[in-house]
Amino acid sequence: MKACHVPLMAALAWAGWLAAAPSGQEPAKKDQARAAAPAKEYVGSDTCAGCHDEIHTNFRKNAHILLETNKRRGWEGKACESCHGPGSVHAETTSADDILSPKKMTPAAIDQMCLACHKNQQTQVGRIQSGHARNSVACTSCHNVHKTGEEASARQFRRPAGVNRNCQGCHMDVWASFQKPHRHPLPEGAMSCTGCHNPHASFLNRNMRLTSGQQPGCFQCHSNKRGPFVFEHAPVRNEPCTICHEPHGSANPRMMIRHEVANLCLECHSNIQSPPRATTAGGVAIATHDLRQPRWRNCTACHQKVHGSNVNGALLR
């Protein structure tokens, strides 16, 4: 961490102290309120249906209806209260303050509510180190439980456009990239963000998805780049595809990160000396590559097997 970052850290710590200060004045009041509050008990889903009949009816088509009848889960007949907490006080007062509601809960509390059942599932392997968990993105940020029909997240996420709309809500900057001419076909509805990213959990950077066990998700569609090849192009293996490509959208052809292929290649292949004297790998291009001629400006016109070749060490065929 550089010295110039210290003031920013100090400002954040000061903001944290400010935010924490008011709650320090409340413990006594909270204790008194807690002592006076009636004990909450479970009343059963049928009681909830007394007022929330539409939600109760629609819930029959929800996957969580399993809780209502499944003895193993321990919430038989109390599916509503499995998430919203005991409802006896709320049933008496009908106040929204007397029942747990994700609208008013912190992301950590929401996650605790959902993960009480969903924590130990395959989808959550890698959740701890994933970007969403680290940034306190709660489950209900993407998933809604009570909506039905077209508005239900379960229905929306069946369509690529529904997934993309949901992700776009936070990742507006990424969605803007997809408006550029060279892009993966997400705006066309042919792909979705979850085709490449795992929103729940991944131990790769940027929540990248794995395919076929442990290969980067790019190879799910671009299988001919998987290899292995007799002659590998090393950055394809020891760096992500983003070392050459902009995966979302670009004004450059083939979604390259540079407007001309020669610049992209030569920015790495410019080491006269070899390691360890040079701090990086790459070497230099041979002298016949006269960039003044258009013939030499697109390296992949000759080095066509740039992702790896089984025949030629210079990736020419």
Partner: protein, 722 residues
């Protein structure tokens, strides 16, 4: 008989009467509660029927797409569902009734598109590729039988069928507790023939065309069947297929000349996987075994005598190719084993881990036939009448990766997270060339060469982070990340030392973040990384880099939302042989106005200003002197969607959507790309709606003017509701 009935009947009632018994036990309390509820229900009714605010979760309000008018029309706004169906007496545009009890439902959109176009056809096909004709643009069919022993629900979703460049299909079927099937299919056209990409000539010359073109279709097909979903033990099996077939142009590269030839591309991959998931309350494990087979057959062929890309004679002779064929045949196989575990041994501790191993192999053959006037690849002073080459080779890549993570909750407000990942593999390949070199059409000699390479890669990451829920309004986190790796790779052609270089990658630094929610309608999140580079593999690899991301959301009056987002990435390598500087930042703002939940109107607008700047020197090959590579890309991007309900007559209304997107960039490749669109939907009958859509695509580039195009599209059709 009567005795049997007297015994059997209560037993039968009891067997299915657990609910009845429970009802009886619960009844006194429930009855009392229900009576109380009825008394106050009239005054409390507004609590149950109040429309939900659009942003039900303040950390991430949903935002309908601004660019896709069709989808926005189908889903006018989140939170509008309670009123979206419209009153039963009004004739409104209605994608599908909500809370329906019907067994079968859905909709199908069919129509026809007309296209007018001006400008470069190849660029249009590379970017848009929509053609005219009849289409089924969208379909969703739902089956939910009430009392079926085989199926609880089935949902089929289709998009863009009938000739469009992208079509998808998805089938989800479930019988709760018994089986679940998820099946997806996509067919995506990959057409790329941009004139500027790999063209060797100048406009007007015979070599002015992209020598790396493709006109193929990638098809993906993935299925997974899970048995006993939601139970403790769930076996599953999956099958995937990824194929690509089509044609293109690719150069046949020979010594001192290249010849663009036609190319037939045909590769496919099949994968089968199966495993078992075991889920208990505090423990889960998944074990999976899979295998795949890969095939890649490419055929490059000539149909005429070609002079190639070389414009000058060599040794006083014109190099040419009278016949050139390359036939690739690659076969691959792989198997993988994957094990995943999560466990919560204590209420304050969560653990997860994964272990994956695989061993892919490929076997390759190449037959190459060359006839013409070509240079001997082993003797640049010798010209040959042709060669016949035969390569065969194989490569393997044993691969192991693993991860482990833990979260400890040290009290109600403090969490510690630790994670560790490792990934190791190496590639070993060997091939043999057997070449017949023809000095004359009948006289030849044989050359045999072997070659191969080894590549080793290992990378690891370790991260520890503490999260402190300071209060209900503030959460902060801070930690440390350390990444390191090693790689053995082929040395440079001009290396004087060993044939392989050993390099290392190492970087470490601090990671921080916060979530601030001072009031319910406002939130601010930040994500910061400050990483110091120690070693890197490549000149443009991540070294000293900083990532910042800030996002704020606030809700103004009840139906007005504003989001702002700032992101920044800087990367710098100050080493004397590199001197690389990179900076990218973007600021984005979006506004959503959804009065009345978006039932009558919705406006969604988004704007982004982004910049990418990169400076590094590279060595000009001819002379090895430094040349600056300065990349600049400045972009303005905007999307907007206005969706309005059109009350055209009493109890009759349609919907009008208009919007689209634009991108305008300046820098090294100035580009303007406009995509406005509009859509009108009018109900015709309660089961049919008419839709009419207009779209425009326009591309212009200051430097590559010849790639510009403009296209107008009109589509009309009907939506059939079921």
């Amino acid at each position: 008989m009567r005795l049997l009935l007297a015994i059997a009947l209560p037993l039968a009632l009891l067997a299915e009467g657990a609910p009845i018994r429970k009802e009886a036990q619960r009844q006194p309390a429930a009855t009392t509660a229900k009576k109380k509820l009825r008394k106050i229900r009239s005054t409390a009714k507004h609590l149950a029927s109040a429309p939900a605010p659009v942003a039900t979760d303040k950390t991430a309000p949903a935002a309908p797409a601004a660019a896709d008018a069709t989808e926005a029309r189908q889903q006018p706004a989140p939170g509008a569902g309670s009123g979206g169906a419209g009153a039963g007496k009004k004739w409104e545009v209605n994608p599908e009734p909500t809370g329906t009890e019907s067994v079968f439902g859905g909709h199908v959109d069919i129509g026809a598109r007309w296209v007018t176009r001006a400008g470069d056809f190849n660029t249009y096909r590379s970017l848009v590729n929509l053609s005219q004709g009849a289409r089924m643009t969208n379909a969703q069919l739902r089956l939910e039988p009430a009392d079926s022993k085989l199926l609880d629900s089935g949902l089929l979703t289709l998009t863009a069928w009938g000739g469009d460049p992208y079509n998808t299909a998805r089938l989800d079927m479930v019988k709760r507790g018994v089986w679940r099937l998820n099946s997806t299919y996509s067919n995506i056209a990959m057409f790329n023939a941009l004139p500027s990409f790999a063209n060797i000539g100048t406009p007007g010359s015979p070599l002015f065309f992209n020598q790396r073109t493709m006109d193929t279709r990638i098809r993906n097909y993935d299925n997974e069947l899970t048995l006993f979903p939601g139970t403790r033990i769930m076996p599953y099996v999956g099958f995937s297929r990824n194929t690509n077939f089509g044609t293109g142009i690719t150069p046949l590269v020979l010594e001192l000349n290249e010849y663009p030839l036609r190319n037939v591309i045909d590769w496919s991959l099949y994968e089968v996987r199966g495993g078992i998931r075991v889920e208990f309350d505090r423990f889960h494990a998944t074990v999976e075994q899979g295998g795949r087979r890969f095939r890649d057959d490419q055929f490059v062929y000539s149909t005429e005598t070609l002079p190639g890309n070389r414009s000058t004679p060599y040794l006083g002779q014109i190099l040419s190719l009278t016949k050139g064929n390359q036939l690739y045949r690659i076969r691959g196989e792989a198997e993988h084993t994957r094990a995943l575990v999560t466990t919560s041994p204590f209420h304050w501790l969560d653990l997860s881990g994964s272990f994956i191993r695989s061993r892919p192999k490929t076997y390759s053959e190449l037959n190459q036939l060359i006839r013409g006037n070509v240079v001997d690849p082993n003797n640049p002073l010798l010209l040959l009448a042709g060669t016949t080459d035969y390569f065969f080779g194989n490569a393997t890549m044993p691969h192991i990766s693993g991860s482990a993570a833990a979260e400890a909750r040290l009290g109600p407000r403090i969490r510690i997270r630790e994670s560790w990942e490792t990934d190791r593999f190496h590639t070993t390949g060997i091939n043999t060339l057997r070449s017949l070199q023809f000095f004359t059409p009948t006289s030849s000699s044989t050359l045999v060469l072997t070659g191969g390479e080894r590549l080793e890669v290992s990378r690891h990451r370790q991260q520890i982070e503490a999260i402190w829920d300071v209060s209900k309004q503030l959460t902060i986190r801070g930690g440390h990340r350390y990444e390191w790796g090693r790689s053995l790779m082929k040395a440079s052609t001009y290396s004087q030392g060993a044939p392989y270089d050993r390099l290392e990658m190492e970087r470490q630094g601090g990671v921080f973040g916060f979530v601030l929610r001072p009031v319910q309608r406002v939130s601010l999140t930040g994500d910061l990384e400050f990483i110091d580079g120690i070693k890197t593999y490549y000149r443009t690899g991540l070294y000293d880099h900083t990532r910042l991301r800030f996002q704020t959301r606030f809700q103004l009056p009840k139906s007005l939302f504003f989001n702002a987002n700032y992101s920044r990435l800087t990367n710098e390598n100050p080493n004397p042989d590199v001197r690389y500087w990179y900076e990218a930042d973007a600021i984005t703002g979006s506004l959503q106005w959804l009065p009345g939940g978006g039932k009558n109107a919705a406006i969604i607008a988004e704007y982004q200003r982004s910049k990418v700047r990169s400076d590094i020197n590279f060595l000009y090959p001819l002379g090895l002197f430094p040349v600056a590579s300065n990349y600049r890309d400045y972009a303005h991007t905007g999307t907007m969607l206005i969706d309005l309900r059109l009350p055209l007559a009493r109890n009759y209304s349609g919907r009008l959507s208009a919007g689209g997107s634009f991108v305008t960039t300046s820098g090294v490749r100035p580009t303007d790309y406009y995509q406005p669109q509009g859509r009108l939907v009018l109900p015709v009958t309660p089961k049919m709606e008419f839709f009419s859509e207009y779209r425009y695509f326009g591309l212009s580039q200051t430097i590559y003017v010849f790639e510009g195009f403009r296209t107008h599209m009109y589509m009309g059709g009907v939506r059939l509701l079921m």
